[in-house]
Amino acid sequence: MINSPAELEQRRQEILSGRDAGKPRVSVCAGAGCLATGASEVISAFNAEIEKQGLTGEVRAKGTGCPGFCERGPVVVVDPQQACYLQVTPDDVPEIVAQTIKENKIVERLLYTDPTTKEKAVRESDIPFYKNQERNIIGNNIKIDPKSIDDYLALGGYSALAKALFQMSSEQVVEEVRKSGLRGRGGGGFPTGIKWDAARNAPGDTKYVIVNADEGDPGAFMDRAVLEGNPHSILEGLIIGAYAIGANEGYVYVRQEYPLALENVGIAIRQARENGFLGKNILGSGFDFDVKVHRGAGAFVCGEETALLLSLEGRPGEPRSRPPFPATKGLWGKPTNINNVETWANVPLIINRGADWFNQFGTAKSKGTKIFSLVGKIRNTGLVEVPMGVTLRDIIYKIGDGIPGDRKFKAVQTGGPAGGCIPEEHLDIPVDFDELIKAGAIMGSGGMIVMDQDTCMVDVARYFVNFLTQESCGKCSPCREGIKQMHRILTNITEGRGKDGDIELLEELAMSTGSASLCALGRSAPNPVLSTLRHFRQEYEAHIREKRCPAFSCKELVSYYIDPEKCEACLICFRKCTSEAIQGAKHRIHVIDQAKCNKCGTCFEVCPSRFGAVMRLSAEPVPGPLPDELRIIVRKKKAKNEQRETI
């Protein structure tokens, strides 16, 4: 139990003195992405190998939070060399232990290699993916075992809390956050200081603070990485917020689809309680505060404040109209302040280093850094944290290393289902709350999905609208019916049943759904449709008028055909076909039975590029199948050989 700031500092010194910075350490990313590629096997392999090579007690391998470079996971960092090894398998472990840990030598083959210069990068900070980021929040993930409070304390954890409780009044804390210009990271971008001030000034003795960790945007996992990787940073922010607005109870609302996050947050709360950061008389300040975890049960709409509150009360999460805002009438009718995970994680940094420090990052109206999950058709999938104001182009090309293969960039979708698609010509806009809105998208919680020429924009709109059809709670009719009708029209268009007037009807539905819905889900539901219409109207028109999908993605509008001139009867597509639709044999040109083809596209992908025999056709008639007798391939070269043999 730590009872004063002095004791906290003493504890930190004790932890540090027990740790020799020169001693070898192995950190393995144990985030969701790396675990899926075998990180836990790598950790076990390290522990077994360390024992085998007689280093027990000298070095320990620990699982850490996610550093973001999911594309090359499992990621391993070996200290003190700071060697960053990528795509490590258990088979690599003996070599790492023998070379790096014992001999202080770098295992070159596991390092990042620059694709153009072929130069190797030893440290994280030398890799272009990391070099161009500003990792104020997720930078600590690889240094911390999320299940160890000591790791967090060693990095100065909970010192912001001590500072707030002992050196600042609650007004000063709110003022510092207001001055920092921090805006809500969950999507809305509302100034955090103003929100806190409203809850602080609301009448009432019982108040609540809540962490909104109901991250539901498909393709976004920023909050998950912070929850799993550095849960104490969120708790510290929450306790500071509770002190600022005068709350004694708090909740962390985590979706149950994140079991590791739930586990790590639960452990962190227990440790915080044991050490005197939660409970009665925190750090001897006289301030009482405690936290409970509430699991979300799988409803996207519960990310909306008022729905989340009802869900916390044990009811179906159906939003209500605002005002009254939760700041005055929230959980159980009491003043409540709800912030997103990343917002809370910024708070200790602001309190410790000051609003001016925070202000140096970002643009005039969007301060600080923002974490994005950069995914889709991108070489470096992962989490990236950048100062507000960098351009989309820099994120996609400098950090993400562009589009894989020889494909062309088409659009980047930001902001989740409520967001929009941004085409090539707008890639130089700076990423900030207001600029993205001007381009027809939103910042949202940080999803950034890159799309290439093979992505159909009408299908993307249909995808998001379909998602929202399922997630609309059904309480208000504009959202329930409007989204459903938009989905019906979009499905018709992608399946070749589009007709003149569909685009206008979509626009009309978008307008009424957007203006008449009760909560943000319905109000922003038209965005995917409107933004694709704004930038890619010609794709809609091609689908409707020509029944053509320019991206060859909508399967009802696409056929696959094997060019008999190019087919070399290699049998690859014949074997891989998932619907047994390909007729063929050795030395016989392969033919697709159009009636059987399920248009999965496998044949197109597996056909060796030196043949390129499989073609995609859209709005073009498929040539009839080659008559049986013409399918035999007579191989000239082979024929010659045979001739020679007979001579």
Partner: protein
């Protein structure tokens, strides 16, 4: 159904009506579905009408009112997986198992569901079978994988 187990779940939440969702989640995790008798018991113990329990159990996607098969397949339909071809994977899995998302086959072998994001987008398209992740799927590898399950 193990009535004592359900009772102890309810007790662990102090029988509070506000813990309804948490109690249902615990039962779901334990039994992999919510049998009618369990809901009846929850209703009686928490003094919450059955209509509200039904409303809650059908509102949230984590709950299932029908039993699940031996193997639970979750296909990620997150945006990253979608643009990388998840619908094609889903279609093949549907063809092989003969069931749609949300359904269980008559032999109780597979239950199929779609999820919105498993958080490992670098591996997309991703499918999760019995909590094991399978990444970078194309239709024919997905078809191959399913053959392993009995």
């Amino acid at each position: 159904m193990d009535t004592a187990r359900i009772e102890s779940i309810i007790d662990s939440h102090d029988g509070e009506a506000s813990s309804l969702i948490q109690i249902l989640l615990d039962i779901q995790n334990e039994l992999h579905w919510l049998p009618a008798e369990a809901l009846q018991l929850v209703s009686e113990r928490l003094q919450v009408p059955m209509s509200r329990i039904q409303h809650t159990a059908t509102f949230y996607k984590a709950f299932s009112l029908v039993p699940k098969g031996r193997h639970e397949i979750n296909i990620c339909m997150g945006t990253a997986c979608h643009v990388r071809g998840a619908p094609r994977v889903l279609e093949v899995v549907q063809n092989i198992t003969g069931i749609q998302p949300g359904e269980t086959d008559p032999d109780m072998k597979f239950s199929l569901d779609t999820v919105n994001c498993l958080g490992c987008c670098a591996l997309g398209p991703v499918m999760e079978i019995d909590e094991q992740h399978l990444g970078k799927l194309v239709p024919d590898t997905a078809a191959e994988v399913l053959k392993k399950y009995e």
